[in-house]
């Protein structure tokens, strides 16, 4: 089927046209990133003038110098790492044992517990009650609040539970006959077996933590604690304001645009680094989560 020589003229036309269209879509996805990268390495003046299209104009690393010299940038970067690592570990600590228990047929009230998880995917109290609850729990403006407050999501629990349910029960039975208790069965047998599923969920958590912005903005007032995304948001907001008031920094070798672009590049890089792993696992993850209550 892949031998083009066997194709008719029309089929060849079709195949090439299709390749061309996919190429157009792909490039239009890629272009904004290239544009931002080019902008980040251009001088402020050229950027302002709208002369940057594909490659850096009047190339400079002034914007990066400006970004990297900002302590708040580093602080927020560090914070994002704290939230990402802490939050992902916290998520796994809740999800893995919980999902394992939910997958065991001998669990009393199994239907009820599962429904309790599933219901949270259908009905959500909304922004205000969640916010008031966090405030009542004293979790405003705290690292711990952000880390624990978003540890669990029903979809990931069900994903993990489905995986555990798919493991033949003879693994548990064999381990139990060998004398393992439930903790040992989970730790020594099911968790190693579930590595791909755990990796998938860990990656989901990492991405959502790395990108998380809204609640960090709402729950954190202390600028020392905000993550990168919130810092980035402030910088971009400044850009909009500057445009409105036409503030220009003609003398500076950088502009708000190039600085924004530089921060964007800095914040995308870690995502690009884990992206190959993401690609490997998200297909699997989507398949795992696909079906059944």
């Amino acid at each position: 089927m892949t031998n083009m020589n066997l194709y008719s003229r029309n089929d060849k036309m079709f195949v090439y046209l299709n390749m061309f269209l996919v190429g157009v879509f792909t490039l239009s996805t890629l272009y904004p990133f290239i544009y931002i990268a080019a902008l980040s390495f251009s001088s402020g003046f050229e950027a302002r003038a709208g002369n940057v299209v594909l490659t850096p104009v009047d190339a400079t690393i002034a914007a990066y110098k400006q970004v990297l010299s900002e302590p708040a940038f580093w602080r927020s970067y560090l914070n994002t790492f704290i939230y990402t690592i802490g939050g992902t570990l916290m998520s796994l600590a809740f999800i893995i044992p919980g999902a394992y228990a939910l997958s065991r047929p001998q669990l009393y009230g199994r239907r009820f517990w599962n429904l309790m998880v599933a219901f949270t995917m259908w009905f959500n109290a909304g922004l205000i009650p969640f916010f008031l609850n966090m405030r009542d729990l004293g979790l405003l403006d705290s690292y711990f609040g952000i880390i624990i407050g978003f540890a669990v999501n029903g979809f990931n629990v069900i994903l993990m539970r489905n995986f555990f349910e798919g493991v033949p029960s003879s693994f548990e039975e064999a381990a139990r006959m060998d004398g393992a208790n439930e903790f040992q069965v989970l730790w020594k047998v099911y968790m190693p077996l579930a590595k791909p599923a755990i990796a998938t969920i860990a990656l989901f958590c990492i991405v959502s933590r790395w990108n998380g912005f809204f609640w960090a903005m709402v729950l954190l007032q202390d600028q020392e604690k905000v993550p990168l995304q919130v810092y980035l948001r402030h910088t971009i907001a400044k850009l909009s304001d500057d445009q409105e008031f036409s503030v220009t920094l003609i003398d500076a070798p950088y502009s708000v645009e190039t600085v924004t672009a530089a921060i964007i590049v800095c914040s995308i890089i870690p995502v690009l680094l884990v992206y190959p792993f993401l690609q490997k696992y998200f297909n699997k993850g989507i398949m795992l989560g696909g079906v059944k209550e």
């Binding site: 269209l21 996919v22 902008l39 302002r48 709208g50 669990l107 990108n211 919130v230 964007i264 297909n283």
Partner: protein, 326 residues
């Protein structure tokens, strides 16, 4: 049991407690917990978390019916019935938010839904594995980029002076347009951004469905002399129709779920007219203006409708495909 002689008096057999029988009633529960307590230790943190962070706020929804005072707390604030809801439906901004939610969702659905299907079909027709892999890798990428960054890219690209869009337009002699302050431009930009960010990733579901089509179908079609175009229409699309319909049902079920994070990042007072949706309304009224009770009422209204939609969508897809979605 041995038979007693016929003339012997009939003695009621004393029920002997069978020492080996499995326990009954409460004893059974106790026995089960003794054996399986570890499972419940594993489950407990998850359940406590759910109660504390998701179910307690549901209890907190009662502020929608209360005159909430920050000092009295949720439980002790006085009840006022449906007053907030009455105010809500008399509020032009809220009505506008509902209208915007529906319109934006509608366009997202109508334009955004077919694109991933088209992409999946196109990817499927690519024969060169390397080309396919790279283009897929690139179009999936924006899904993993935060909305703040996407918004940053959009704001930069559409900015009146530096933005690439205006640079392009300038080549054709068009005067710079300050897109993000123009109400009529908000929806196209928002919907387009959403497609740019998610279409590639959403195509995975369809690609998986296509991968499930038996290759022998195509081989027999080739033998029958079908062209690629015909095979796409006669084999691929009918084969993934179930998936398409299920995805459509889900999307309709989630129609109120506009990605309001992105709207918060992109809108400004000048574009509220076309951009303000229910969740951004709640955010402004509640979290920014501190009218918690009033905003919670709007949220409850939103959540109940969303719940009904999602449940109906699930029931519908269960009926359609005999598989439930979760």
């Amino acid at each position: 049991m041995t038979m007693s002689p016929h003339n012997a008096p009939i003695v009621e057999p004393v029920p002997v407690e069978d020492p080996y029988a499995p326990p009954k009633g409460m004893d059974r529960v106790v026995d089960h917990l003794k054996r399986e307590w570890q499972l419940y230790v594993m489950l407990l943190p998850l359940i406590i978390w759910l109660l504390l962070f998701l179910y307690k706020p549901m209890y907190g929804l009662q502020v929608a019916f209360k005159d909430y005072s920050i000092f009295k707390g949720v439980a002790n604030s006085p009840w006022i019935g449906f007053e907030h809801f009455e105010t809500l439906f008399g509020n032009d901004q809220f009505i506008r938010a509902i209208r915007n939610t529906v319109i934006i969702s509608f366009w997202t659905l109508v334009i955004g839904f077919p694109v991933p299907i088209l992409l999946a079909l196109m990817f499927n027709e690519i024969l060169n594995a390397t080309y396919k892999k790279w283009s897929q890798t690139i179009v999936y990428l924006p899904h993993f980029i935060s909305s703040v960054i996407i918004a940053g890219i959009v704001i930069t690209a559409f900015s009146p002076s530096a933005g690439i869009v205006n640079t392009f337009l300038g080549w054709f002699g068009v005067e710079p347009i300050y897109f993000l302050t123009k109400a009529e431009w908000f929806r196209p930009i928002f919907v387009g951004t959403g497609i740019w960010q998610e279409a590639g990733f959403q195509s995975i579901v369809y690609l998986a469905a296509i991968a499930g089509v038996s290759p022998t179908l195509y081989e027999s079609a080739v033998v029958d002399g079908a062209s690629r175009w015909q095979m796409m229409w006669k084999i691929t699309i009918p084969s993934i129709m179930t998936t398409i319909i299920i995805m459509l049902i889900i999307r309709i079920g989630n129609i109120l779920e506009v990605s309001f994070e992105m709207i918060i990042l992109l809108y400004q007072p000048a574009t509220y007219e076309t951009a303000d949706v229910v969740n951004t309304f709640i955010y402004r009224q509640g979290l920014q203006a501190g009218q918690y009770d009033f905003a919670a009422a709007a949220g409850l209204f939103n959540a109940v409708i969303a719940f009904v939609l999602v449940i109906s969508a699930n029931a519908l897809s269960r009926r359609y495909s005999r598989t439930s979605l979760w």
